[in-house]
Subunit: 230 residues, 2 copies
DNA sequence: GCTTAAAGTGTAAAATACACACTAAGAGAG
DNA sequence: CTCTCTTAGTGTGTATTTTACACTTTAAGC
């Protein structure tokens, strides 16, 4: 059943750059292995064609779930890539989204429709198809920019986490070490963390207190234009 | 000459939100009056369909020039709007760009291919077609965010300008008044302004010194990741 | 030369950012 | 059971940055 238009149209796709943090605090990105040409067997960002009855974000979520099993994550539009020649077959414009997940909840390569999906270190990704290296680089830059003035990263952490875990996350994303006392002062002063009556378990040293993110308070402060700069 | 595809494709357009500052320091946006349905005779953002042989940014620049005569301006991708029903005829996905121009150089309604083009106060725009109110609002928010940490706004000012003009611009965009002495200290400390041996002319009071923006220095500092926060 | 209008300029107080090192707690080994 | 190992947790003084604030200067128009 062919579809005919008076003028030619670029194909429209979405691609997802999903970041996760593994148990060694390494930042990872979720990739799939392409089953079909072009770039057959190469690794690429999960993504695919936008259908006529879904919004762009819906398309991104659907493709992400179909190809990797990951769903229900934080996703935000990143940038739209539309240069000529980014797909060798056809003119393809791709709306890229980036997302953050807590890797402990989305562990190994999930797979449904998926050929093969796996987490790769952001610092040393495999060769990527299309202009996906550029998309990944753009997403990383955006993540670094965002983390400075938005309490992102709660998406990347488990529901209950220690301040040290959080600090490590920030150090990983920003690529620099931070002072422990100053970091703790700042994040606690924001007032978005609820201390729990629980502590870490199974560690061979003093157990750290666990915290959780106060989503309600966050949204309340966000309404008021509060600045979450770290 | 029809074009046929195996699967249906959304139409792809670009829209431009071009801001300018008029001589009373009011922030304006460049709009066109639609000549054809839908939304015939209503005001809308300049924009149109992306061709197969041009990048997204090229398309934005081309449409902007065709419809308003404005060219050679600073343009940056804003966001891609792809919700269902944003165009009553067809599924249309639009990549929005925002731009800044010095209104004194692009004065009245330029027009080439244009039906009618004019500058409207951002504070009180006319009824806009499609989801263009939302696009305009997004662009304004982005502009406000950007102005805080990027020496934008040189795009909006004449080549030679006074510090008071620049301050008024910032006050207009941010919607708040700023302290004269502190503002001057900060912008001069950045070192991006070259003082000229010239002063304002034709004013009925003490003439202000003119400055120009040092583009070379700006790019040099930007390379180094310098922070231009005001 | 008097009026008017905006240009231009410095300092003190307050707030914020930064640097920095020791004690506390708990697990595991012996 | 005590010693060791490892990470948790905590406060202060100093430097820097940000803020608030008002008068003198200059030039044009009358």
């Amino acid at each position: 059943m062919p579809y005919t238009y008076e003028y030619p149209r670029p194909a429209l796709t979405v691609d997802c750059v999903v970041f996760g943090l593994d148990d060694q605090n390494a930042l990872k990105v979720l990739l799939i292995q392409r089953r079909i040409p072009p770039f057959q067997d190469q690794w690429a960002l999960p993504g695919g064609f936008v259908r006529m009855d879904e919004s762009l974000e819906d398309a991104a979520r659907r493709e992400l779930q179909e190809e990797t099993g990951v769903k229900g994550v934080f996703l935000e539009q990143l940038y739209t890539f539309g240069d000529l020649g980014r797909d060798p077959r056809d003119r393809v414009v791709s709306v890229a989204y980036y997302g953050l997940v807590n890797l402990t909840e989305y562990p190994i390569q999930a797979a449904t429709d998926a050929r093969d999906a796996a987490w790769f270190p952001v610092a040393s990704p495999p060769y990527l198809a299309f202009d996906h290296p550029q998309i990944l680089a753009t997403a990383l830059t955006r993540l670094q920019g965002k983390v400075r003035y938005q309490p992102i990263g709660f998406e990347l952490l488990p529901a209950k986490f220690t301040l040290t875990q959080m600090q490590k996350l920030y150090e990983t994303i920003l690529g620099q070490t931070l002072d422990k006392r100053n970091f703790r002062k700042k994040v606690l002063k924001m007032g978005l963390l609820t201390p729990l009556a629980e502590v870490q378990m199974g560690v061979a040293h003093r157990a750290a207190k666990l915290y959780q993110f106060d989503l309600a308070k966050y949204q309340q402060l966000k309404e008021k234009g509060f600045n979450f700069e770290l």
